[in-house]
C-alpha cells in the first residue's frame, strides 16, 4: 500500500515536471535537452567513475607490495579529494576573469586551486609520516620485548 502510494506519487511528480518542461521550453530546447541529459550520464558513468575505478585498481595493486598497504588509505583519500576539488574548480578556472561584473568570480582561482591542492597533499603527507612514525615506534617496542606492559 505504502509502496504503491510512493510509486504513484513519484510518477505524478515526474509527470508534473515533464509538463512544466513541455510548457516552458521551445521545441528546439526540448530536442536538445535530452542530449545534455545523455551527456551528463556519459560523463558520470563512462568517464568519471571508470577513471576513479582505474585509479583505485592501480593503487590497490600497488598496495600489495610490502608495507604499502599501511599508507594506501591515506594516498587514496588524498588523490580522491584532489580529483573532486579539481572537478568542481574546473568551471571556476575556465571562467576566471569572465564574471558578468567585477564582484562575480573575483578570486584568483588558479592560485586558490593550487593552494587547495597543495594543502590536501600536505595533509596527506603529514598523516602518512605520522602513521609511519607510529608504526616504527610500535615495531621497535615490539622488537625490544616491550609490548605494552604485558
Amino acid at each position: 500500500m505504502i509502496r504503491k502510494g510512493l510509486g504513484a506519487l513519484g510518477i505524478g511528480f515526474g509527470l508534473w515536471g515533464l509538463r512544466l518542461l513541455l510548457q516552458a521550453l521551445s521545441l528546439d530546447a526540448l530536442i536538445r535537452l535530452p542530449l545534455w541529459l545523455g551527456g551528463a550520464v556519459l560523463v558520470d558513468d563512462f568517464l568519471l567513475i571508470p577513471l576513479t575505478l582505474a585509479a583505485g585498481w592501480l593503487l590497490t595493486n600497488w598496495s600489495t607490495r610490502p608495507d604499502h598497504h599501511r599508507t594506501v588509505t591515506t594516498i587514496r583519500t588524498t588523490l580522491l579529494y584532489c580529483g573532486l576539488t579539481t572537478l568542481i574548480a574546473i568551471p571556476l578556472l575556465i571562467r576566471q576573469g569572465k564574471g558578468v561584473n567585477p564582484t562575480v568570480l573575483s578570486r584568483d582561482y588558479l592560485r586558490d586551486w593550487l593552494l587547495l591542492e597543495a594543502t590536501i597533499v600536505a595533509v596527506g603527507v603529514l598523516v602518512t609520516v605520522l602513521q609511519r612514525r607510529r608504526l616504527t615506534f610500535s615495531r621497535s617496542r615490539a622488537s625490544s620485548g616491550d609490548i605494552g606492559g604485558r
Partner: protein, 365 residues
Amino acid sequence: MIGRWLGVAVSVCFLTGLFSHFQQVTPGWLVIPSRPASLYRVTQGLHVLSGIVSVPLLLAKLWTVYPKLFAKLPWPPSRKALGAVLERASILVLVSALALELFIGFLNTLQWYPWPFPFKETHYALAWIIVGSLLLHLAVKLPLITANWRRTPADRTPVPRPADSLPPAITGLSRRGLFRTVAGAGALVGIASIGQSVPTLGPIAVLAPRKPNIGPQGLPVNRTAKDAGIQVKDDWRLTIKGPSELSYSLDQLRALPQSRSDLPIACVEGWSQGARWEGIRIHDLLKLCGAPAGSRLRVVSMEKGGFYATSELPPQFAEDPLTLLALRLNGTELDLDHGFPARLIAPNRPGVLQTKWVHRLEVLS
C-alpha cells in the same frame, strides 16, 4: 548509507529550492512570513550548499552500484523482465536529471549559461522529475529498505556485502572506510564553498564564485547600473500612487524620518551578506499616502523591461518595520550599482526582489 545521505541532501535542496521558487512566484494560497528576517539567507545558502555536497555523494553512489550498470536484463521477456526494464529506465531518468541539475545549478552560481535551454524553468522542472523518480526508486526498493531496517544489530555484524556492489579486491575499501572518505569529501567541498554565504569563512571559500566584502560599499552586486541601462537624472523624483498621490525629491525623502535595518542581501545564487541600511519605512510611506492597512504594494524600478524591473510586496512585508526604501548603505549614500537614489530592502526576500533604482510605488489594494 550513501544513498540515504544523498536522499537527505536532495530533499534539503528540493525543499529550499521550492521555497525560493514560491518566493518569486507566490501562489495565491501561500502567505510567506516576513520573519525570521534571515530565513531566505539560510534556506538559499543551504540550497546551494546541499547541491555542492551532493556532487561527491552522487559520484560515490554511482561508484558503489557501478556493476549494476552492466547487469544483464532477465531473458526471455516476461513480467519480471518488463519490471526490470522500467526500473532501469527510472534510474536512468533519476541519474541523468540529477547530474545535469547539479551541473547547471553550479554553473548558475557563476552566472554562466552555456546550454541551449532556459536555466530557471529547466532547473525547476528537472527538480520535480528528480524527486518523482527518487520516490519511484524508493517504492521499488522498499522491501529491501524495510528488510534492512528490521535487521537487529546482531544480524548486521559482519555486514554482508551485496553481491552487486564493488568487491574490496577492486576497491581496497571497507564499508566504514568508504563512508568516512565520502563524508570527508562532502565536508571538504562544503567548507571550501560555504564562505560565500557565511562571510567569516569567506577567505577559505576557494570553490565559491563569490567573495564577501568585494564590491562598491563592501557588498557584492548581481546587476550593475550599466547592465540595467540606468542613468539617474538630477530631477529624479519618487512618485507614490495611492489613495492620494505623492511626489518627493531626494532631498525631501532625506528630510522624512529615517530608520535603520540590519538586513542581508541574499541572492538566489546562494551568496549572501549582511548590511546596514538606512531609509524610510515603507509602512510610513503607505501611511503618508493614506493607504489602508493590509495594502499590497508594487515597487517599480527605472530599469525598463525584464522580469525584475518591478516587484510586489505582500501586506506582511509592506507592514514590517524592517522594510525600507533605503537611501544609505553601510553609513554612506547608496552606490549607483546598489540602486541609487533609492532601493527596496525587506526581510526574508531573495535579492532579485529587492528592487533597485526605484522611482514609483503603487498601492495595489
